[in-house]
C-alpha cells in the first residue's frame, strides 16, 4: 500500500513521539488525574492500592479553614514571588547585557555566572545558604564584616540616599540582604537572555550606530524589543521555579502532610496552589504578550 508523502510523514511524526506519549499517559497524565481524585477523597494506602471515601470539598475546606498555616503561607509565597521575580528579571537582563560585551576575562565571568545553574538545584545550595546565614555571612553584610564597617550605609550616604525616606531605605536594605538569593537564582535566566542577545542581527546594531544612538537609546530601542519574547520566557521560568521550589513554605507544608500520610488534604492544597500558579502565569502572559515584539520573517 502506498500512502501519500504528507500522510506518511505525519505517521513518522507519531512514531517519533509515540514512546514519549505512552510514557506521558502512564507516568504523567494518569497520576495527575489520580491526584485530582485524591483531593476529593479521604484516602489511605491499603494492599492493592489507595482506598477511601468521597468527602467532596472537605479537603479544600480543611486547607483553607482548618489548617492553621496554609492561608498565611500562601500569601507569604505569593508576596515573595511578586517582588523577587521582577528583580531577578532586571538583574539577569543587566548581567546578560554586560556579559555580551567584549572584554578581557569574559569567558571566566560567564563561567562564574552560570555556576549557580549547576549547584542551585541541589541540596548543596540549602546547606551553603544555611551555613552562611548561621555565621551571618549571607547578605550584603558579608562585605561589611570583611571591611568592618557598615558598607551599605556608607554607600547610601555617599550617594545622598541615606535617610531620605524610611521605606526607601528599607527597600534597599531588603534587596541587598537578598542579593545572594537573587544572584544565585538568576543563572538560567542570564543564559536565556544572553542567547537572545547573541541573536540580535548585526544589521540592527549597525543601523543604530549610523543614526548615532547612544548606548542608552540602543538598549531601549533595539535590545529590549529583540529580547522581549525571552523576557516572557524568563518570566514564566522564574515564576515556575520559585513556586515549585521545595524550600518554599507552601511546598514544605504539602510535603509535611504527605509524609504524614494525609494525602487527601495534601492533594487539595497542592491543587489550589497549582491553580493559583496557573492563573498567575496565564494573566501575566496575556499582559506581557501585548508588549512583546515578534520579528516577522
Amino acid at each position: 500500500m502506498k500512502m501519500a508523502y504528507e500522510k506518511r510523514k505525519s505517521m513518522y511524526g507519531y512514531g517519533f513521539i509515540a514512546l514519549w506519549f505512552i510514557g506521558a499517559v502512564i507516568f504523567f497524565l494518569i497520576p495527575v488525574v489520580e491526584s485530582l481524585i485524591y483531593s476529593f477523597k479521604e484516602v489511605s494506602p491499603d494492599t492493592g492500592g489507595m482506598v477511601g471515601a468521597w468527602v467532596g470539598l472537605g479537603n479544600y475546606n480543611y486547607a483553607f479553614n482548618v489548617d492553621p498555616n496554609y492561608r498565611q503561607y500562601l500569601v507569604q509565597v505569593l508576596q515573595d514571588t511578586a517582588w523577587k521575580t521582577p528583580l531577578i528579571l532586571i538583574f539577569s537582563l543587566f548581567v546578560a547585557v554586560i556579559l555580551n560585551q567584549k572584554f578581557r576575562g569574559r569567558t571566566f565571568s560567564r563561567a562564574v555566572f552560570f555556576l549557580p545553574v549547576i549547584i542551585a538545584t541541589g541540596p548543596v545550595y540549602n546547606i551553603i545558604n544555611g551555613n552562611l546565614q548561621s555565621t551571618g555571612n549571607s547578605d550584603a553584610s558579608q562585605f561589611s564584616t570583611m571591611f568592618s564597617t557598615d558598607l551599605l550605609g556608607e554607600l547610601m550616604k555617599f550617594l545622598g540616599l541615606y535617610g531620605i525616606s524610611d521605606s526607601m531605605q528599607q527597600t534597599i536594605e531588603t534587596v541587598s540582604d537578598n542579593i545572594f538569593g537573587i544572584v544565585w537564582n538568576s543563572g538560567i535566566q542570564i543564559l536565556i537572555f544572553l542567547a537572545a542577545l547573541q541573536n540580535i542581527p548585526v544589521s540592527a546594531k549597525e543601523a543604530a550606530q549610523m543614526e548615532g544612538a547612544t548606548a542608552w537609546e540602543y538598549f531601549w530601542k533595539i535590545t529590549l524589543p529583540y529580547v522581549s519574547p525571552m523576557i516572557l520566557a524568563c518570566f514564566i521560568f522564574t515564576i515556575i521555579d520559585s513556586f515549585t521550589d521545595p524550600n518554599n513554605v507552601v511546598m514544605g507544608r504539602i510535603l509535611d502532610l504527605q509524609s504524614d500520610w494525609q494525602y487527601g488534604p495534601a492533594s487539595a492544597m497542592a491543587w489550589v496552589y497549582f491553580a493559583i500558579v496557573l492563573a498567575a502565569v496565564g494573566v501575566i502572559t496575556l499582559i506581557i504578550n501585548k508588549f512583546v515584539y515578534y520579528e516577522v520573517e
Binding site: E6, K9, S10, Y12, G13, Y14, G15, F16, I17, L19, W20, G23, A24, F28, I30, P31, V32, E34, S35, Y38, P45, G49, M50, I98, R110, A111, V112, F113, F114, L115, V117, I118, I119, T121, G122, P123, V124, I127, N129, S134, N137, Q142, I179, A195, A196, Q198, Q209, M210, E211, G212, T214, E217, P229, F243, P246, M251, A266, A270, F274, V281
Partner: protein
C-alpha cells in the same frame, strides 16, 4: 534623540558624516598616510557640527569610564557567587576547633585532610558514587535520547493533535513533581495490568522506565529545548537526506544528531546536573538509596549517628563537616562543568534556548 533628528534633517552632508561617524566607532588601528589617531580625529571633527562633537565626546567619555564600572560590577557579583565556594574550600580543610576561633576568617590555623576523610567515610563515598553513576547518570543519558526523539517529532512533523500533545509537554513543565509523586508511588508499588502485578519500589526500574520514555526529571523542559533547537536547523539538511533515500529515523540519527552535537552537550549537562542534584524523586521511590544528593541531604543526621555518637557538637563546629560534604558532592559535576563550560558558554546561541 535630538542627534538622530538632526541627522535626518541635514540631508546634504548626511553620507559624509555617516562615514566619519562609523569610522569613529571602529578602533581605527591603521590610519592612512602616517597620521596619528589624534590628528585624524581632529581633521574629522572639522567637518562636524556642535551636537556631533558633543556626541563624540560623550561617547568617548563613556567608553573610557564604562570598563571600570563594568569591572567593579562583575567583580562584586562574581564575589557573591564564588564566596560560598571559597568558604566551602576554606572550611573543608580546617579543623573544627578553628570554627570557634575568632581570628580565623579564611586561612585555617590547622590545615588538615581529616575532615574530608571522615565525611567521605560517613557518606560511604565509593558505594554512593557507584549508585549515583549507575542510577542518576545512567537515567540522565537515556532521558537525553528519549527527549531528543520526542523533541524532533514535535519540531519537524505535522500531524493531527500536535497542539494538544504539545500542551501536555507544557503541562509537564508546569506541574511540580511533588503533586504526582504519590500516585506515581502507588503506580510502581502495584505495577502491571490485567491481574499481573509487580512491586517496583526499591527497583532501579522505577527511575529508568520514566527516563527511557521521556518522562523523568524535568523531561518537559528538555523536550521543549530540543524542539526549539531542531526547529532552528535548516530544513535543507533533511530534504537532502530524504532525496538520497534515507528514512526519517536514519535521517535523525545520521544527519540531525551530528549537526546537533553542541546542543546535545548542553542538554546533557543540564540533565546530568538535574539528576545528580535530585533527592526528592529518589527518596520517594527508594526506602534506602545511596545517591549522593540524598546522602548530603541527610548528612547532619548521619554525622551525629556515626561520627559524633550522638554527642553534642555545636552547629557552628558541624559546619566544617557539612561544607566538606558539599565539596565532595559537587566536585564531580564541577570538574565536568570546567571541561564542558567552553561549549556551554560560547555555544548557547545554538543550544535551542531561543526560539
Amino acid at each position: 534623540m535630538e542627534n538622530m533628528k538632526e541627522h535626518v534633517d541635514n540631508a546634504e552632508n548626511l553620507s559624509a558624516r555617516a562615514v566619519s561617524l562609523t569610522e569613529s566607532f571602529q578602533d581605527d588601528e591603521q590610519v592612512g598616510s602616517g597620521m596619528s589617531k589624534r590628528e585624524a580625529r581632529k581633521i574629522r571633527m572639522k567637518s562636524m557640527n556642535r551636537t556631533e562633537i558633543a556626541y563624540m565626546r560623550r561617547q568617548r567619555l563613556f567608553q573610557l569610564v564604562w570598563p571600570f564600572f563594568r569591572f567593579f560590577i562583575l567583580f562584586g557579583l562574581c564575589f557573591v557567587i564564588l564566596y560560598p565556594l571559597i568558604y566551602m574550600i576554606s572550611c573543608a580543610f580546617r579543623d573544627s576547633v578553628d570554627m570557634s576561633d575568632p581570628t580565623v576568617m579564611w586561612i585555617p590555623r590547622t590545615l588538615t585532610l581529616d575532615i574530608i576523610k571522615e565525611t567521605a567515610g560517613v557518606m560511604d563515598i565509593w558505594e554512593t558514587l557507584k549508585t549515583t553513576l549507575l542510577l542518576n547518570v545512567g537515567c540522565s543519558l537515556i532521558q537525553v535520547a528519549s527527549c531528543a526523539l520526542a523533541g524532533y517529532g514535535f519540531a519537524r512533523f505535522k500531524f493531527k493533535g500536535k497542539g494538544l500533545l504539545f500542551g501536555i509537554v507544557i503541562m509537564m513543565i508546569l506541574v511540580p513533581s511533588q503533586i504526582i509523586s504519590i500516585p506515581q508511588y502507588m503506580l510502581f508499588r502495584h505495577f502491571g495490568a490485567f491481574g499481573f502485578e509487580v512491586n517496583l519500589i526499591n527497583n532501579k526500574l522505577c527511575m529508568y522506565l520514566p527516563a527511557a520514555m521521556g518522562n523523568g526529571i524535568r523531561a518537559g523542559l528538555m523536550i521543549f529545548i530540543f524542539r526549539q533547537f531542531f526547529k532552528g536547523l535548516p530544513k535543507e539538511l533533511e530534504d537532502a537526506a530524504y532525496l538520497d533515500g534515507c528514512g526519517p529515523f536514519m535521517t535523525f540519527i545520521r544527519v540531525m544528531i551530528p549537526n546537533a552535537a553542541s546542543s546535545f552537550l548542553t542538554v546533557f549537562l543540564f540533565s546530568v546536573v538535574w539528576y545528580w542534584n535530585d533527592y526528592y524523586v529518589s527518596s520517594t521511590f527508594f526506602n534506602k538509596n545511596q545517591t549522593i544528593a540524598l546522602m548530603l541531604k541527610n548528612l547532619s543526621t548521619l554525622l551525629s549517628q556515626q561520627l559524633f555518637n550522638n554527642a553534642d557538637v555545636s552547629p557552628r563546629e558541624q559546619i566544617v563537616w557539612m561544607e566538606a560534604g558539599c565539596l565532595i558532592a559537587i566536585l564531580p559535576i564541577l570538574v565536568m562543568y570546567i571541561f564542558l563550560q567552553k561549549y556551554f558558554t560560547e555555544g548557547i546561541e545554538r543550544s535551542g534556548l531561543v526560539g
